[in-house]
């Protein structure tokens, strides 16, 4: 396997968690809710995924546990912002701080333990094809699921009636309510979907990307996923493009560090964060583009009046 191929493979593993968390958050934001707790839900997914896989010996059960815990954890956010109409920005931050705190506490016993890695696909003949074999047929199963998820969400949002309803809730919750749509109920479902995705994305870190538990191992990826949604102007396939761009930046800087190109490693490590800022600036300077695509009710609490 050539060097170039190896780099492409690792880019996919770096991009996949960003993609899953980003697509999940995209659905949440399309329903008009801004959940800044992605980082917290991801880290909860990472710790439960690791723990469940360790306890059962099955990485798949780890992913399942992370999915459930991510959704349940996001329910805390949903109850506060949707039923108690609290400020979404502050509550999302609270979810992140709570997740970082809880995961540190729960994961203490896992520190330094060897993890269980989800294996890559190995299809006879196909995976052995030159060049494309490993890239197309030899990755981990979650990679394929992440692409299917992106397509599924794109189809759901823009090709189904339920997707249209969800978007209408996000664009004008007052009108949606007047039409008899259950605004709060739809938002509950959207938030929990986002939580489940973030949980799986976190588990990907602790079961595939680096199969171990380290405190704060998400290292800002939840926030980068949030930035990706803005970057993608709330469109699923653009989240995929953005995730791979960031995957390339973070893998590129790792390889540059390994080669020792005479630039401080800390500067290289800060590149993904600086790239996020640069990309956000480039996208949001075009006010019209952002205005058109941003769900109009994003971040506004909704309290139905009788």
């Amino acid at each position: 396997m050539g060097m170039f191929e190896a780099i492409l493979l690792t880019i996919a593993t770096a991009a996949t968690p960003l993609l899953i968390a980003g697509v999940g958050e995209l659905v949440v934001e399309r329903s008009g809710v801004l959940n800044l707790g992605v980082e917290g839900m991801m880290i909860m997914g990472a710790v439960t995924g690791f723990g469940a896989a360790l306890a059962t010996g099955s990485p798949w059960l780890g992913f399942l546990a992370a999915l459930v815990v991510g959704a349940l954890f996001s329910l805390l956010f949903a109850v506060l912002t949707l039923s108690l109409a609290t400020n979404q920005v502050a509550t999302g931050l609270a979810l992140t701080l709570l997740g970082l705190g809880f995961s540190g506490m729960l994961g203490e016993r896992f520190v330094g333990m060897p993890g269980i890695k989800l294996g890559n696909l190995d299809i006879p003949y196909l995976s052995d094809l030159p060049v494309v074999g490993k890239l197309v047929f030899g990755q981990d199963p979650i990679f394929y699921l992440s692409v299917i998820l992106t397509g599924g969400v794109a189809w759901f949002l823009f090709r189904t009636r339920a997707g249209l309803t969800l978007r209408s809730v996000g664009d004008n919750h007052g009108s949606a309510h007047a039409l008899g749509i259950n605004v709060i109920g739809i938002r509950y479902l959207a938030v929990m979907f986002g939580g489940a995705c973030a949980g799986v994305a976190g588990a990907y870190l602790s079961l595939v990307y680096t199969p171990q538990w380290v405190e704060n191992m998400t290292a800002g990826r939840g926030w980068i996923a949030l930035a990706l949604v803005v970057f993608a102007s709330w469109r699923p396939w653009r989240v995929l493009a953005g995730a791979y761009l960031f995957g390339a930046v973070s893998i590129g800087q790792l390889h540059a560090q390994a080669l020792g190109i005479g630039v401080p490693s800390q500067l290289l490590s800060s590149l993904p964060y600086l790239a996020t800022i640069a990309v956000l600036v480039l996208i949001s300077r075009n006010r019209r583009l952002t205005m058109i695509n941003t769900p109009a009710s994003l971040g506004r609490p909704f309290v139905p009046d009788r």
Partner: protein
């Protein structure tokens, strides 16, 4: 099926405005007791070590002041931001850059020893924090960029920058290859308030002064009115002739300067040199402090002391009952949740409504 229904109050409730932080604290204690029991500890004993034991001795009260000072300083600045609807969540980064900028004199010019060094360091720390906070403010005003994400990203950049300094060009050559600068000389050390009694330094006094000054600004000056009007209704603010872009800069510069002051005070006071782990997450815990204090600087002083107590109590409980110090952050996170939830009581009455099971709840 029961469901929650919110009924808007005609006016916000003064009673719950005052009570809600206490209800939240009470609920956190209940949840904490459950958590401690699940961890196999006696809740009452743990609470004793958490909240009573650190208050029993003079030296420990001084430690409380040391932990509370950065929390209060940062949270007071954040209150200006949050009241004006500017979501600066990068105070941790501004804290670090303030510490770095303030350390320039003692690290690069150790021969320059005079009484003026310390005041200059404090000013440079404030300038450093403010300049770092100006980045997200500038990007928000000029390019319409979301300040939440940019300010947060800059935290990681600041951490890495500081790490590079203290492991690289600023590392103490006599430091046995430990990361960190050489110890500051005596003119660069923030003095203790009352050395006979404990370690608390002037950082705590700065925090109190900042809290009173910002409280005065918010409640007695036109600028404070501007902060609140622009925060609640940018449109109304424009009609009043207030400038939203200038408010963005004002809020970020004030909070950045205070976070920077906290950073340099921590380094020149509590630590004595710049190292790679100068913050224990003060910039993030201060967000909790700001909300627990209901964004009121005087409330923030009390809230800062409470959160500082959880740090000390966490240490005490880990030594005495063997409870992991990781529990502290979980505890702090729960507190913020309950604070935000209870704030709903100020604007709404909460009614539990029973709905017939046959008909799905149309909210």
């Amino acid at each position: 099926m029961m469901r929650v229904e919110l009924v808007k109050r005609p006016q916000h409730s003064a009673l719950f405005s005052a009570l809600s932080p206490f209800i939240a604290l009470g609920l956190t204690l209940v949840a904490g007791a459950i958590m401690f029991s699940l961890l196999g500890k006696n809740p009452l004993e743990t609470f004793y070590y958490y909240f009573i034991d650190p208050l029993r001795e003079m030296w420990s009260l001084h430690e409380l002041a040391i932990k509370a000072a950065p929390l209060i300083l940062i949270a007071v600045g954040l209150s200006v931001c949050y009241l004006s609807n500017n979501w600066n969540i990068g105070a941790e980064g501004q804290f670090i850059i303030g510490a770095v900028a303030g350390s320039i004199l003692p690290v690069l010019f150790p021969q320059f020893q005079s009484w003026i060094v310390l005041p200059l360091m404090l000013l440079m720390g404030m300038a450093g924090g403010a300049a770092y906070a100006a980045i997200p403010a500038f990007l928000k005003v000029r390019f319409n960029t979301n300040e939440i994400l940019t300010s947060l990203m800059l935290v990681y950049v600041a951490q890495l920058f500081n790490d590079w300094l203290v492991r690289g060009i600023w590392r103490n050559p006599q430091g046995m290859s430990f990361p960190g600068t050489a110890p500051f000389h005596e003119y660069a050390i923030l003095p203790e308030i009352w050395p006979a009694a404990g370690r608390a330094n002037w950082g705590f006094v700065f925090a109190l002064v900042a809290a009173v000054a910002v409280w005065f600004m918010l409640s007695k000056m036109l600028r404070g009115f501007e902060v609140k009007v622009l925060g609640q209704s940018p449109r109304a603010g424009r009609f009043a002739g207030f400038s939203a872009p200038r408010m963005v800069f004002f809020a970020f510069l004030v909070s950045g300067a205070l976070a920077g002051l906290a950073g340099i005070s921590e380094v020149s006071g509590a630590i004595g040199h710049l190292n790679e782990k100068l913050s224990i997450g003060y910039g993030f815990t201060a967000i909790i402090v700001a909300f627990l204090g209901r964004l009121n600087p005087l409330g923030i002083v009390a809230a800062g002391l409470i959160l500082a107590l959880t740090y000390l109590g966490g240490e005490a409980a880990s030594i005495s009952v063997g409870l992991s110090d990781k529990v502290v952050r979980a505890f702090q996170g729960m507190l913020l949740f309950f604070v935000l939830g209870c704030d709903t009581l100020i604007h709404y009455k909460i009614r539990l409504v029973g709905t017939p099971l046959a008909k799905p709840a149309e909210a």
